[in-house]
């Protein structure tokens, strides 16, 4: 199925948001995840099933400034 990940269409196997994080080797503690414009609680990463056409945003910390 196809989902939009950070604005780009991607084919994925399906599964939960946590599965997608694992597939991309993203440490869950280092990312905030928005699915269809709603922030996901960290505890919901493994209970949220992705559906065809979902919009997923991985928001990484960006800390510098000095």
């Amino acid at each position: 199925m196809q989902v939009m990940i950070n604005g780009k269409a991607e084919e994925i196997a399906g599964g939960t948001v946590l599965d997608l994080l694992k597939a991309k080797s993203i440490e869950p503690q280092m990312v905030a995840v928005e699915v269809n414009d709603t922030m996901l609680e960290r505890t919901h990463l493994e209970t949220t099933q992705l559906k065809d056409g979902d919009h997923v945003e991985f928001l990484f910390y960006m800390g510098g400034g000095r």
């Binding site: 604005g7 905030a32 928005e34 414009d37 609680e41 991985f58 800390g63 000095r66």
Partner: protein, 275 residues
């Protein structure tokens, strides 16, 4: 207040704009902006806000200028190495525009001094390099009810967003708490392309001016991410999170405190930006 001849001349390109005019320029002259961090983001923000005629600019920074700062911290110059950043910053601001009153705070922003310092300002600009202080600024602006223009830069990426407390999404609506310390790279390890500070810092200054003038549409409920490698901006819609520990329905943060160690600069993410 009435403009002097010199002011009319200095600000003529602003006064010519129907959205600014004499009335708007007076708002700028009466405005007070606090810049936390006189470094990469704070430098361009301070210089452009000074040029615009902001009446009072507060600069908070406890550091002295280091040679490695000059690659991006354009308010400081080679002879300033070793001098306090707030002193160096004040000099450059006043050389550019002697009308600006610069208030120096040669200290770190802490839970103890944040609300007192912020109290006197209309807008706060985040130009700091560590997560605990970024969260502290977010929280303090919430408790003080001050609009905040948040910025961050790392490697080739930058981000900016405007936060109007109790009205738009705050930093904790997206990122509930600072990242675990062992997982973040320090700025020194990560590096940053210097011009990014100019790009993001000047957007922060633009946002501050818009808030002061009350014009346009603020960068609220949106994260604006910039990728310098592709020269691409991307806007991510965010919204107030009912589960936000600060501004949500059942807040767990009810008074200002430090969330993590503000002593060490920490930048971010172990390289998962390139999706």
């Amino acid at each position: 207040m009435e403009f002097t001849e010199t002011q009319i001349n200095r600000y003529s390109r602003h006064i010519l704009l129907p959205e600014v005019g004499g009335k708007g320029q007076k708002k700028i002259i009466q405005a007070k902006v606090l810049i936390v961090g006189a470094g990469g983001l704070g430098s361009p923000a301070a210089l452009y806000l000074a040029a615009a005629g902001i009446g009072t600019i507060g600069l908070i920074d406890s550091d002295v200028v280091d040679l490695s700062n000059l690659q991006r911290q354009v308010i400081h110059q080679t002879p300033d190495v070793g001098r306090p950043k707030v002193v160096s910053g004040k000099e450059k601001i006043q050389a550019l525009n002697p009308d600006v009153n610069v208030v120096m705070y040669e200290e770190r922003l802490t839970a103890g001094n944040a609300l007192k310092i912020m109290g006197g300002y209309d807008v706060v600009i985040d130009g700091v390099d560590n997560f605990p202080t970024k969260f502290l600024i977010n929280d303090a602006c919430y408790f003080a009810g001050k609009p905040l223009v948040h910025g961050g830069i790392l490697r080739f990426d930058g981000r900016v967003t405007t936060i109007i407390p109790k009205q738009s999404a705050c930093y904790r609506c997206v990122f509930k708490k600072p990242p675990p310390e062992g997982l973040v790279a320090s700025c020194q390890e990560a590096g940053v392309i210097g011009v990014l500070a100019g790009i993001i810092g000047t957007i922060q200054a633009t946002e501050a001016l818009k808030l002061i003038l009350g014009i346009g549409r603020p960068l609220t409920d949106r994260l604006l991410d910039f990728d310098a490698r592709r020269t691409q901006f991307r806007e991510i819609r965010i919204k107030r999170n009912p589960d936000c520990p600060l501004c949500g329905e059942r807040p767990t943060i009810t008074e200002l405190m430090e969330d993590g160690d503000v002593a060490g600069p920490t930048c971010a993410l172990p390289g998962q930006r390139n999706l």
